[in-house]
């Protein structure tokens, strides 16, 4: 049951992000998705920065929490820990960068999350490597 909840949190991550993006942009007169960064929706000069920052923090927390469930579920696929743990760590780092991004809006230098977000693309790589060793049921 706990694992189910943790994995469901993974589904909540994109929902939180796109909620922040869509609602933030809808309440920001003159905002352009073509020429402006998404993070500008949470900056101090945005009309309602909390509409962007709060869901981003929630999505980041969900990513950090779900990393535990992802490790356990991927580990069950192959029976091995290495790639599952690395996938979980990469996901937690990416989630932490989301939390920092929401807590410290632009132009705060902490907004970029110390580069932790760059771990994001490693999640599918590690999940793929774990998948290759999947147990034959």
């Amino acid at each position: 049951m706990i694992r189910k909840l943790l994995l469901a949190a993974l589904i909540a991550v994109p929902i939180c992000y796109y909620f922040a993006l869509i609602v933030g942009a809808a309440t920001y007169p003159g905002y352009s998705h073509v020429t402006r960064y998404a993070s500008e929706l949470g900056a101090a000069d945005a009309p309602y920065p909390a509409l962007f920052n709060v869901p981003i923090v929630i999505g980041g927390v969900a990513a950090v929490l779900t990393s535990v469930g992802v490790v356990a579920a991927l580990r069950d696929l192959s029976g091995r820990w290495l790639w599952a743990i690395l996938a979980g760590i990469a996901l937690a780092c990416w989630g932490a960068s989301m939390v920092l991004g929401g807590m410290f809006p632009m132009p705060d230098e902490r907004h970029v999350g110390f580069g932790l977000g760059l771990a994001g693309p490693l999640v599918p790589l590690f999940a793929l490597l774990e998948n290759y060793r999947m147990r034959k049921e």
Binding site: R3, A8, A73, P121
Partner: protein
Amino acid sequence: MKLFLGFIFVGSLIVLAIMFGVGHLVTRRNVGIWQRINTGISIPWFAVLGVWLLKLNANTRRASPSGGHVSLTSLG
């Protein structure tokens, strides 16, 4: 799923490289578009992974007569 994960990984790397200036494709006038492409590749797939792992988790538990758990009654 393997193909999907591979596509997401390679796609994320390519768009990330573009965002970091490779090819000089990103300008102030289109940075938003490139950022949306980047997040469009690197974020929604989390939901797909979540659904896939939830299904696998459910199948594994259904396949086990004890629902994935070993209890004293199931041993008896």
